[in-house]
């Protein structure tokens, strides 16, 4: 080993330090011209193009913090976006504990019972949203052509959509002028399975507890979501009934976790997953043949050339919805920019972009303008693909002639029976869920 003497090291270190000091502390010789961002002029001035200097900081989950969306928005709107992709948990943590870190919160509706009481979001003035009345009625009125979804349980977006007034931290039960989030994407989740390894059609949530799949199933380890899937399974297999799956009592939580522990001890589960890629790995490696899954994860397994079905189940779907909200710190031109972004978001380009991955847009009619008729027919109408379906990143997802699992938009969203949920007994639930995972 070459030996460096202490003196040599000291000398080099001191020289480097001196150089740093000299370069960092010396006066800037070349000063930016007066009136530019690096050297703002001190006098009053009228800047008609101020919005160019705005940067909106986003926090959100990987689902929508996508570079292509950011680039398109920057090109169309003329200001900058700074996106941060986080897990649902981190996203909530930052939204609640560090309001100074973001301007726009891109989150899920079921997080709102936690985020809104923190007072870190300012209500969205509905009158400034151009197409607000065109948003799917599931969000704005809770009605949907008399379909099952109208009676759905859990934190249905409609229940947390409005605030009582501008300064309220309480949700309003009827539409008001003040919205919590502006929705832009949502989906109906269900179980995914490997038809080659399962050997039959999966049509009920109950199959997750079928002893035939012992040691080959998985559930997601995010308490607020996993518990809903577990409740669907328990109810479907006739083991338990709930007053309201989306808002369980302590006894109900005790019963469902006891049931889960029993199943775990009997060796029903192979693993539990927390992130998107874990669920993809479990499925594609054949460790698991049937599990709770998210739509793009099923797509990712398919993209590897492995057959995977997103099962339409007779009991209905568990859904989620995402939207964007405003930080309480936003004001002035920044706030105007955020409203411009919201209007742009609903305009359809993003809806079409996300639609090509299987998500639904808040205003399907706007998204339709940006989709090819074949794409619209496949993703929204449930018709066979008239050509190969390509995702926004250029990957072929479905071959010509394929059908979307679960059918049309109406069939899928209309059949939602529960939404991801934050219950009144959330703290207790997390405690019991930990017991289940540790058991």
């Amino acid at each position: 080993m070459p030996r460096i003497s202490r003196r040599q090291l000291l000398r080099t270190g001191l020289a480097a330090g001196a150089m740093l000091t000299a370069t960092q502390c010396s006066p800037k010789t070349a000063e930016a011209p007066l009136g530019t961002p690096n050297n703002p002029s001190t006098g009053p001035q009228i800047n008609t193009n101020q919005i160019k200097d705005v940067t909106l900081r986003f926090i959100g989950t990987g689902v929508s913090q996508i570079n292509e969306i950011r680039d398109k928005a920057q090109a169309d709107l003329g200001f900058k976006l700074d996106m941060r992709a986080l897990s649902t948990e981190e996203n909530n943590q930052i939204a609640i504990t560090q309001p100074g870190q973001y301007d726009v919160f891109d989150g899920e509706y079921f997080s709102l019972p936690l985020v809104v009481p923190s007072g870190n979001l300012q209500p969205v003035d509905v009158s400034k949203i151009k197409d607000f009345d065109k948003i799917v009625s599931i969000f704005t009125t809770g009605k949907f052509e008399g379909a099952k979804v109208e009676a759905s349980q859990g934190t249905a977006p409609y229940r947390v959509m409005y605030l009582k007034d501008k300064d309220a931290k309480e949700f309003a039960t009827e539409p008001t002028d003040w919205a919590t989030l502006i929705p832009f994407q949502y989906n109906a989740d269900t179980l995914g399975y490997r038809p080659d390894l399962v050997g039959k059609k999966i049509e009920s949530w109950a199959e997750l507890f079928d002893p035939a799949f012992k040691g080959k199933t998985s559930l997601l380890d995010i308490p607020s979501i996993g518990i809903m899937d577990a409740a669907m399974v328990a109810e479907a297999s006739g083991l338990l009934t709930f007053g309201d799956k989306g808002n369980m009592t302590r006894e109900e939580i005790d019963k469902i976790t006891a049931l889960l522990i029993e199943q775990k001890k009997a060796g029903q589960f192979r693993a539990f997953w927390k992130t998107f890629d874990e669920s993809v790995n479990l499925m594609s490696s054949g460790e698991v043949v049937l599990q709770s899954m998210w739509s793009p994860a099923v797509t990712a397994v398919k993209a590897k050339g492995i057959k995977c079905v997103y099962a339409p189940l007779k009991e209905g779907y568990r859904a989620w919805g995402g939207g964007i909200g405003l930080s309480k710190n936003l004001s002035g031109i920044q706030l105007d920019a955020a409203y411009e972004y919201m209007n742009w978001l609903l305009d359809g380009w993003v809806g079409a972009f996300l639609g090509r991955q299987g998500y639904y847009s808040a205003i399907p009619d706007n998204a339709k303008k940006f989709m090819k008729p074949a794409e619209w027919d496949f993703w929204y109408e449930g018709k066979p693909a008239a050509e190969d379906m390509v995702d926004p990143f250029g990957k072929t997802l479905e071959k010509k002639g394929a059908l979307r699992d679960g059918g049309s938009f109406k069939e899928r969203m209309g059949n939602v029976v529960v939404w991801n949920s934050t219950m009144k007994e959330q703290v207790y639930l997390v405690q019991k869920w930990n017991e289940f995972i540790a058991a």
Binding site: Q93, F269, A271, G286, E287, Q431, E435
Partner: protein, 285 residues
Amino acid sequence: MHKAWKTVQPYLLATPQTLIFLLFLVFPIAMIVIVSFWQFNGYAMVPAFTLDNYVSIFTSKVSVATYVNTFKYVFLVWFFSLALAFPVAYFLAFHIHNQRLQIILFLVCTVPFWTSNIIRMISWIPVLGKEGLVNQLLMGLQLTQQPVEFFLYSDFAVVLGMVHLYTFFMIAPIFNSLMRIDRRLITAAVDMGASGFQTLKEVILPLSAPGIAIGSIFIVTLVMGEFVTVRLMGGGQSASVGKLISTQIGSLQYPLAAANAVILLAVTLILVMAILRVVDIRQEL
């Protein structure tokens, strides 16, 4: 004047480090201790003084079971790391006489650290999985008919993963103490008629004890707080205190997580102190 300067000088020299120490170690720990007595109402922490967090930990069967499970991991990982590390270090120190080769081989031991923790864990899946290499081999050799499932997503996998990760922290200090042993002692032992095993037992082992102690401290502290390996290799099925804390933080239950962290810290300190009681490591420092 000169005398006063002499008295003050050591204190001044120690000041920067003391400040850093207070700011980045003592202050955060103090904050954790304080928060562990706060209340939590579902979405926010409330400054208060309550023992509820501690009471709920000590009265919960699950937390006790989780601690016991964590100790199990600590013991198993410590045992297997030592069983692997001692022969490796011994071989490096006493059987490789070329110094260049010694250094190269020592660096080879660090190979597992060249890529990220998560990648290393995920790469076990194609090896240990149901359709993995090991199972294909066993089934190909007709040793089993069904894939062996306990290879992955089990305590076996967790311990394997951690041994893979942490054995180096045992090798390095043991190698270091073995290198410091005066070779004349071994010659003397041989001259006195000691067999190879006797030399190992009476001379080498006692003299390498401080290295083993330092390695053990590394292993204990690392495994006690471990949560990534436990989650990925255990498939979310296995529990450890670190994982419990990470789940609690994930659900925003900071006070409860803080209380667990305080207990974890205390338990780890007790274990480290116990090791220091048994072996005097000062000669190594």
